[in-house]
Symmetry: C2
DNA sequence: CGGTTCTGTTGACATGGATCAAAGTCACGC
DNA sequence: GCGTGACTTTGATCCATGTCAACAGAACCG
């Protein structure tokens, strides 16, 4: 009595990479697709790639051909300026899309580096463009994903342009916490996959400052940190800390 | 003997807003379109809007419905945080596209304010999505425009995260200069449409610092500034200044 | 055309975060 | 299991930029 619409012989490989059965689907893909559309989407991703900690899935200057959906693990993206400084431009976890920097010039403009052993779904970009011409919901979804990346970047610009060290760290922790919740993890207890230096680079601070502010937050009882293990004790307080100006000073 | 392909009765209004005859076309639109595609594009923009200096074409929280191509004039975009700080997230001149922040949530997340009397072409977003499903070159072009916005934001993050005041100003001036050249203006002499405070906000500096660095650049003979009028005397020197670390310190 | 307000310049001083330095902790390979 | 190197913490000091303040020019408007 199991009525399955349009069952087809699926190879193990195809099943393995099928979006329709992926637990992260609602993060990567539009919701509410018709069965027929979902099937078409399953053609989108044929390949998964793994990256061990420290390896990159693409580097600045590489030809752009695909986007990457983080399937498991954790990534950072960094740009390296001519004079050797590098800037972390983002951290990416399961269900998030990396690689949109490359679309504009057809060359990647940053490195995407795994911060732990990770797996990504390779989304060939030309296929994504083809499919999104046929499936409006996919088109719309993709545009939203890109737009949200822009909005996220604006948030970082606000953070870098006008917040103090404590506010930046508080914002960073609250943001991580939210993203972990959305993935079904604890909002208040997690392991940082990145070093103090990487956090500092992202937030425009030196690693010593990051370390000191963590210690200060711990002294104040807002969090407890031990190396990469963080437990947030007082989320409301951290939220309050973000966007506090002219208070003490 | 004038052989025009597919001439149709064009109202004056239609002709006025037609992309195919717009001097900024190569900045907004894909190049190398077939005649038939170009004609379809002329349906894209039906409306122009003007904004006097200080007026905004949209505000944070407004429902998102369209992108705006700057036809003439100059805009800034700003986000306002709850506690009243605001951050300039970009400056936009002729041929550039504003409004992509709104796609993700269908609400705008920043204000777009005219810094001088300006005119924009209204691009209804649903029509853009429809058309780009039919005209792959338009689809591709639009994706590139969004991607470049992301890359630009990464550049600002680098600037805010790791450059010193002089480097930031130098980068800002060089960037403006490049964009003016691309529009056929002088690379070395232009009017700033924004105040010191707006520059400072964009660059993560206070207006006094901006003013001081301008004065210092002038003392060194790199530029000459008088209020909003800037003349760049030594562009190579400014370029060299960007990404100079561990030199003098 | 004169007053008012916005914008820009410059100086004196304060301070948050950078820098330099040293020691402690952890992870990993042999 | 121990040594080596990567990461983190903490302290002392310094400096680039912020803050506060005063004034000077421009722009605007009745």
């Amino acid at each position: 009595m199991t009525t399955s619409v349009g069952i087809q012989p699926l190879s193990i490989e195809r099943l393995r990479t099928a979006c329709s059965t992926c637990g992260l689907r609602e993060l990567c893909l539009p919701v509410g697709l018709a069965e027929a559309e979902l099937e078409r989407l399953d053609d989108l991703i044929q390949v998964r790639r793994t990256a061990k900690k420290g390896q990159s899935i693409y580097r600045s200057g590489d030809a752009f051909a695909a986007l990457y959906a983080v399937r498991s693990g954790f990534f950072k993206t960094t740009i390296l300026s001519e004079d050797g400084r590098d800037q972390v431009t983002g951290f990416y976890m399961g269900g998030e899309i990396v690689g949109m920097d490359g679309i504009g010039t057809e060359l990647h403009t940053c490195d995407a580096v795994a911060l732990e052993d990770s797996e990504v779904c390779v989304i060939p970009f030309s296929r994504l463009e083809d499919l999104s011409r046929q499936v409006p919901a996919l088109q719309s979804h993709f545009h939203k994903v890109m737009s949200r990346e822009i909005v996220r970047d604006h948030g970082v610009m606000m953070l870098l342009g006008s917040m103090r060290a404590e506010e930046r760290l508080a914002a960073f922790l609250v943001n991580l916490s939210q993203r972990f919740v959305a993935r079904g993890y604890s909002p208040s207890e997690f392991y940082l996959r990145m070093t103090r230096e990487e956090i500092g680079s992202y937030l425009g601070l030196k690693l010593e400052t990051v370390s000191r502010v963590f210690s200060r937050f711990q002294d104040e009882g807002y969090i407890s940190v031990q190396q990469k293990h963080v437990r947030i004790i007082d989320i409301p307080k951290l939220r309050q800390l973000i966007g506090q100006r002219g208070g003490a000073c």
